[in-house]
Amino acid sequence: MIDWFISAAHAAAAEGGSHHDAGGFNPMHQFTIDRYVHIKLFGYDASFTNSSLWMVMGTGLVLAFLIYSMREGRLVPTRMQSVSELTYEFVANMVRQNAGNAGMAYFPIIFTIFVYVFAMNMLGMIPLPGLGNFTVTSHIIITFALAMFVFLGVTLIGFYKHGIKFLKLFVPSGVPALLLPLISVIEIISYFTRPISLSVRLFANMMAGHTMLAVFGSFVVGLGAAGWLSPVAFLPFIFMVALMGLEILIAFLQAYVFAVLTCIYLNDALHAGSH
């Protein structure tokens, strides 16, 4: 099933590339992956692609901002320092509310996941000269790797903390014995579909959002042929500005949802016996 999604992204990207060369407009073109530096590792393609470049840019920007804003570490924060502190407090509150104080031990990884996804989503909203527009998180392989990492990590933490009692997670208390086999099967299935739903949620939102932006953007360009000041050209432009606002909201929301669900899964692993 995952192979499907991966090949879907690849095929969509390849399709977009070939159509673009033919001169037509294709909203899928923005998902094309270009290899900048060809690298082969143990028979696997580990090339440095435009995806890698945007990832390096995003993490570099975040690192530079966090280090620069916190360089003095004042008691009364400067404006930039308070942005860093706000981000920290925001994620710390999220972890405390959803995973309890025991979850704070895993705060660094959740902060990293949130900031990474948020930076990638937001960077995808900004077209850069020469590089065009690329959203790292609009590729299923990136989000699936993240989600699988979370899933495996949470499962390992669960077994490490509770041993075999972690399996109680699949046997909810207070369920009639007659229904228990059915409920357990549903719980197990829902547990193992977590990485898929977690990754597809982020990937689908980003991919659908950016495809929609490209399609509506093409309307603006198309109607712009009627003259830039005519109302038929101007109305889609205003609509486009509103859509950009919605996409920025979604870029934040999806990062938030990814981090919150990670916290909730972590909570299940940390407090497996208590429900």
Partner: protein, 76 residues
């Protein structure tokens, strides 16, 4: 039927998952407004839950859109 035509019809049908997402998002925001107008002081605390519900409801519809994209772009 021509397989290419069937593929396109299937992709169109898969997008009907977005009907459910639309209903869901409407329900979430409608009910939030209803609750918020009845008890405005309790509303800000529930704002994160509103956004979470919105994102989850929207994502469910987008799963259908992913199926449509698979039908359109994956060579089966």
């Amino acid at each position: 039927m021509d397989p290419a035509a069937a593929k396109l019809i299937g992709a169109g049908l898969a997008c009907s998952a977005l009907i459910g997402a639309g209903i869901g998002i409407g329900l979430i925001f409608g009910n939030f407004l209803q609750g918020a107008l009845r008890n405005p002081s309790a509303a800000p605390a529930q704002f994160p839950n509103l956004l979470l519900g919105f994102a989850l409801a929207e994502a469910t519809g987008l799963f259908g859109l992913v199926i449509a994209l698979i039908l359109l772009f994956v060579k089966l």
